[in-house]
């Protein structure tokens, strides 16, 4: 007897959701039919991205934030992304260590994900996993991403509100401001405010926001929150900042336009990925790719003409199918 995973997920089954997520990660065919069934039931969860340097306190902050959100009566999904090793393909996923107590709450679902070579601080299937947790009935979904260098930018493609976590004393601020983090933050958390330099860091961020507002007019200015995640200080205020950003998005109509853009981008990306997969599989299967590469190496052919040839061939196949 086959299990109706979609129905189970809609009824709130963590186990069914967990399995579908594994299939999504593996790009297992079984995932897509289920996703098609779940899609109409997605879109109501609010998505918060938390990003920042390793060790900034993102997991600790996520743990505390989840508790505040639960106190407001909302259900929480957490996706914690860590990098895979490029050498072994394995991954050590350690974010749960900071969230252990949440594990006992049936209205919280936590999933660790490895990037599996995908860039941008996220796993390839993270956006799909958001949909699963949404269909599972979670009201707020927090994504903790590996923030290294400029990769954080991808989180803005998925999150409604992006919270950038900075800490004093890492020389981190100046660094990040160069890396375009000012542009992606909807809310700042200056974590480890118990450490020296927190005032200075807040000052730097505010000054920078002030300068930016002269360069480019904005109708939302990211609030700067001080937090001490380990002591559970400043978390309620952080949540209020996220809430007010959410209110801003709704009132300004941005929520809708952002989601529309996201849908458009995701659709294009899915088409791109599937086309590429099909063509690549074909080229590899019949040995044509190898032969072509050989010719390219010998300079008997050029890749520009070859690419056009292959693409045109596929276009004519589909046209042929349509008319027959």
């Amino acid at each position: 007897m086959s299990i109706d995973y979609a129905a189970q997920i809609l009824a709130g089954s963590h186990r069914a959701a967990a399995r579908l997520i594994s299939w999504l990660e593996d790009e297992d065919e079984r995932a897509y039919g289920l996703m098609a069934g779940l899609y109409p039931h997605t879109g109501s969860a609010y998505v918060v991205g938390i990003t920042g340097s390793p060790g900034a306190g993102k997991s600790t902050l996520t743990d505390k934030l989840a508790r505040v959100i639960r106190k407001n009566g909302l259900k929480v999904g957490i996706i914690a992304v860590d990098p895979s090793s490029p050498f072994t393909g394995g991954a050590l996923l350690g974010d749960r260590v900071r969230m252990n107590e949440l594990t006992q709450d049936p209205d919280i679902f936590i999933r660790s994900m490895a990037t599996r070579g995908f860039l941008g601080g996220m796993a390839k299937s993270t956006a799909e996993v958001v949909k699963v947790l949404d269909a599972l009935g979670k009201d707020v979904i927090i994504i903790e991403t590996v923030g290294v260098g400029q990769d954080e930018v991808d989180i803005i493609g998925i999150a409604d509100t992006t919270c950038v976590v900075l800490v004093p004393g890492l020389g981190d601020a100046i660094q990040s401001m160069k890396a375009g983090i000012m542009e992606i933050a909807d809310v700042f958390a200056v974590n480890k405010a118990d450490k020296q330099g927190a005032d200075q860091l807040c000052g730097e961020i505010c000054a920078r926001l002030e300068i930016d507002s002269h360069i480019k007019e904005r109708d939302w200015t990211a609030p700067v929150n001080r937090t001490i995640a380990v002591e559970d200080i400043g978390i309620e205020e952080l949540w209020l900042s996220i809430e007010s950003h959410r209110k801003y998005l709704f009132d300004s109509g941005r929520f809708y336009t952002n989601r529309r853009e996201r849908t458009s981008r995701e659709t294009l990306r899915m088409i791109h990925a599937e086309l590429f997969r099909v063509i690549r599989e074909q080229l590899e299967k019949n040995g044509r790719l190898d032969a072509a590469v050989e010719e390219l190496m010998n300079k008997k052919r050029d890749p520009y003409t070859l690419m056009r040839e292959i693409v045109n061939e596929w276009l004519s196949i589909s046209r042929h199918k349509e008319t027959s």
Partner: protein, 134 residues
């Protein structure tokens, strides 16, 4: 995308040392697995919830506190209650688990207990050979 073995590495019990468990987690990650490290002082309930949410193929229990005779079977029992009975359960205790306990732990549902000094390559291949299909 090839599937990866997902493992939960947990340290049940109250003792405060997790260097060993952390090191093992790293070794399994280096063997190509995706290892969720859950940290110290895990209750059986926490371990089983984590295994469910992570859709773990393997749960590794490392106990130094000598409570394995209670903890390990309790994890097995809860896993069964949740219907997670195809998950491979392995344990170790770095010399604290006396060999005469191995049999009863295995009978209770642990797939393997690894004694001190077991080469990690042996543990890795045991997992690879016995893990479920999904």
């Amino acid at each position: 995308m090839a599937r990866k073995i997902k493992m939960i590495m947990a340290k049940p019990g109250l003792d405060g040392h997790d260097r060993g468990a952390k090191l093992l987690a790293r070794i399994f990650a280096e063997a190509g697995m995706e290892v969720v490290y859950t940290g110290l002082r895990q209750t059986p309930e926490m371990i089983v919830s984590a295994a469910e949410q992570e859709d773990a193929d393997v749960v590794g229990l490392s106990s130094l506190s000598g409570v394995h005779n209670y903890f390990f079977p309790r994890v097995v029992e809860l896993m069964k209650e949740k219907g997670l009975d195809d998950v491979l359960l392995v344990g170790g205790g770095g010399g604290i688990i006396p060999e005469e306990d191995y049999d009863s732990l295995k009978k209770s549902g642990m797939a393997a207990i690894f004694g001190p000094g077991t080469p990690t390559t042996e543990i890795v291949s045991f997992i690879e050979n016995n893990v479920r299909k999904r």
